[in-house]
Symmetry: D2
Subunit: 348 residues, 4 copies
């Protein structure tokens, strides 16, 4: 029996997030890839742009971008530069497609906060209100019926899954400190001094301390969970291609033993297919989640210093981008949530 | 409809090749994993030994090694130290299992050559004669009915797929030079000075120049193809985890244009599911095959210098070990050859 | 004019810290290398153990360890396993040598704290009292006349230089959080699963959260500066050979503007030859200190969250070990403090 | 006694080769750095462009390029894009400076070969004839008196030092095969897809097989040594920042034992300060030469296959560029050849 397939298109298919969506959808049993567009790569075979996809994606890249999409697609994934989705989404929705936006245009729900961090008014505030923030572990039910899903940022995904059980317990008032270390693919595919091999390799460095746009996204997530707490976000660049490790520090306002904290996490994630709570002495490491949609989480408590420490690891391009987008698609179209995503990470 | 599954066991499941067999079989639709054994890891959960497999392999590791296997398995994969398979295979076959040996014990068909390179007589010469060298692109039909398959070495796989079309053309008499660069996982999982991060990272070095045991295996493959030629094999260690790039130099004895050489390769691999012949200016790179069973191949000719140069890239743990073993299993049990293996490489 | 040279010997010369002392002393204009010992490498030429030193260190390694040293050396560097220096130091001092211990045996001044963290009574408590903690930026004057210098740990060096100006200001009461990321060479030269290339490469992971022995060493340093504060120390392993980046978070108890914080640092380090306070938007990165004795430092303040964030970068084998030891030697023997150490880092 | 210093300037000081010249000259006892120019970096402090040089190079970069140089410099190092030196050199020589060109403009002595490989006539053929190819091991005496030195390419340096003793023996007629693996810094500092971290990391690939401009430079070197032989040059990119390993294959035309070959190399390099011939089983590895001006060399012979195999390792930015340039400068100005360069490589 051949299962019926939905039709999916991807705008911005030449970047890493877009390419990763293609890689996973290429063998998703419920999806047919229809159009792949990339503004700068008009007419190039996909395999020229992604040498791994030779044999998997016969399409050539369409250079018209998102403008032709929507009418013959059930779902459109947007992996576009900041700002482009604001223009695209209304038209795509009008044509009847549902949209999963991997960019940041619809993540911050408060237009004022958006304006403060992006330096411009949001020109589609009604859609901002309608968009569902697509973190299944927090907003699963809303995702199922959403026309527009704002796929979370990579860092906010790691921080939210590390901290939500603790924040929701009400035992911390912050400020939470999120010290996150990311692989270089998080910076995208455009060559620059900051992603030049010889300068990134054998180097570890912080950047945008306290001023990265993913900080307010984290605060929004905790506020949405009913527990507004301030977050200090410190991103770092690590000499590896994929992976985010988030080490999160929370000052405790109430009594919490380490066993109590561990129980909070076990309970919170008991039924989550893609969150693995580590037991015993084990701690998350990025390599244990490589090329998978899993998030590994662990928590520790230092009662003497009044601190809880939660750690999470993800593959920034999968659970931090393309995999989570497909998890959202599965929810939106009533497929099993793990369809096309259930595979062990690569190791070593 | 649930497809019927064969029962598979793995001896030596705590090393990289064994673990990679588990990773791929964990979602092979036609296989049920029965026993995983590892001599030194008695009773440990698989997820302790392979953090990526948490949630995928509920089994604990059985420390009795291969001795208990066979009776309730249709196929046993052996990923054992040199010499161990010679003892194990007769007993496993007696118990009715078919065997795929990822080690070197049954690769060299000539007992004299075996003795010269391994420093000891082969104690099961009859089985050596019966074993089928499991390179599907060369020995597909024999694999289908084999009771015992000797899975090729990682380097010989890369060298054979790079050079076979050329060697079979009769246009080179050698000596062929195979300059291969391998990721460190090829050296296995036992810690040593030669795999110590700080000494391997940011380093490139040759080893065993002209004296690696994979050299005679390459010569055997070409002789089996009807064209015995001497091979000089120069392995190198590169600072990466996975991947082999083999750059192969063949002095030409007859007229061969580059277009002619390219046609040889296109013809040879037209129907091969896992060999991708690159066109135009493209050259193989290990990253384009990462975490996949593909071998990418290209050929060039320098008529002025009378040389053909063939290049191949593989993931040493997949097409160079576990993936090829599963490709062999698919052939042995009449499954589609690509079953459980058809997935795009990871990039970046 | 030939300057007079002191005679130096190194016990434990086959590890990374010992080898790095040899590398720097090999061209120190005021030092003659006399004996190099390494227990397990009896009689091996130094160049066999350190391929970089071919042509620089004609000595063979003496396998008797430290037992023969002292009588004909002005200074002995100890780079030994935990515990060995406690036995060695009294005898070396008796023979008239001054000692710089790169290990941990004499770092923790309080025998009770030592016993708690090292699981055994300290058997030379009088020497513990006499030893000078060799962080020149804090204890310069005492180092000059010390017979025994305890060279600080790599992490505590990075944390102290990042936080001392802030802690001494009295504007933070802690708990200080030190989130440090280290290259793999910090784990030493003995091969193990935790330093195996294939498992460390492309991986980032925390370890010993809140339970690493360098934590109490940090607290001791701040207490010695007159401002006891609790420290939560979270070490991480990063996929690179050298370098430590310490990102340190300090809750503020009083008013401190970012400009005020920057001024504290400029003042504190104005005359320090090996601490570079970065200005403007620049942040420390490990690569900018690679293969040098420099520590780069920067500070930021988030008034809204009541946090100061101080960042430092060092080469863990130089300022974090061998370079600092030589800086201490220069002080002990009245040489210019930068002698033999004044060289730009390597980049890229 | 203060030694008299020559005055040196560098044009193109913002690239890796230029920056490496600055790094080494910053502590050369016989050189005063006068001007550093970089066309695109007008007025920026050197430490902004090279974070390692903070504290070592107070100069700001002069954006006028080479046009103002020469009159007040004894020597000018040119690290410019292809073609720029042809215009600069005549004027610099006129102003009385001696010139060391790290680019390719004056390397190929035959204007026809230059035109074929660079696609344009050489517009200063007389200077081409006057320029001395600056490989001290081959042309030391001519370098001493040269007004213009063409500093060899990185790959040709590695290939020449690996093969010259063998080629000069007359025992090989070629074609020589040079399979070289280079770190990414050899591709320069301009960001591009080919140097983008996420695509180069964990990847090994060949490029410009048989068509790289360093191929004819190698043939010229062997012809200049009296033994013209064809060379097939196969460059590869390896995932590391620095280092070239050249594995070179030479078909033998006469009898040569391995011991004989080893003796050839020992004899050839006995008095060379920067070539280390490895003995016994040791083989060159890039890490053993990192951050040094050394070239490590070894040779093997396979009599059965009629092949000699010579291997060399260098740091491409030192012996392959800046270090060799300074070695040439030392020769030109009568300084000890190792002045300012005599330092052990970094390890690990």
């Amino acid at each position: 029996m051949q299962m019926e397939r939905i039709r999916a298109s991807i705008a911005g298919a030449s970047g890493y997030a877009g390419g990763e969506v293609v890689r996973w959808l290429a063998r998703h049993p419920r999806v047919e890839l229809v159009h792949l567009t990339a503004f700068r790569e008009q007419g190039r075979p996909v395999a020229d742009v992604f040498p791994n996809l030779r044999g998997f994606a016969p399409q050539t890249l369409n250079g018209t971008g998102w403008r032709d999409l929507g009418a013959d697609s059930d779902v459109v994934f947007l992996a576009l530069p900041h700002g482009a989705a604001i223009e695209a989404v209304p038209q795509l929705l009008d044509r009847g497609a549902r949209v999963i936006d991997l960019g940041a245009d619809f993540r911050l729900k408060d237009p004022e906060i958006y304006a403060r961090w992006y330096g411009a008014e949001h020109t589609a505030p009604d859609l901002l209100a309608a968009a569902v923030y697509g973190l299944p572990e927090q907003t699963r039910e809303c995702i199922r019926t959403a026309a527009l899903v704002a796929n979370p940022g990579c860092y906010p995904t790691a921080a939210a899954l590390a901290l939500l059980p603790l924040v929701k317990s009400g035992l911390t008032g912050g400020p939470l400190i999120v010290d996150a270390k990311s692989g270089v693919s998080g910076a995208g595919r455009n060559p620059s001094a900051g992603t030049h091999f010889s300068e990134v390799n054998e180097n570890l460095k912080p950047y945008k301390l306290g001023s990265h746009r993913h900080g307010p996204e984290m605060e929004q997530t905790f506020a949405a969970a009913g527990a507004p707490v301030p977050v200090y976000f410190a991103p770092h660049l690590a000499p590896m291609t994929r992976g985010i490790l988030a080490t999160c520090y929370a000052p405790l306002t109430g009594d919490l033993s380490e066993e109590g904290a561990r129980a909070l996490y076990r309970d919170a994630y008991r039924d989550e297919p893609f969150v693995r709570v580590l037991e015993g002495d084990e701690l998350p490491q990025t390599k244990a989640t490589l090329s998978s949609n899993f998030c590994d989480v662990a928590v520790r408590v230092d009662p003497e210093r009044g601190l809880a420490v939660a750690v999470s690891a993800i593959d920034n391009l999968v659970k931090g981008a393309a995999g989570q987008a497909i998890q959202n698609m599965n929810l939106m179209f009533g497929f099993p949530e793990t369809e096309g995503l259930w595979a062990p990470p690569m190791f070593p």
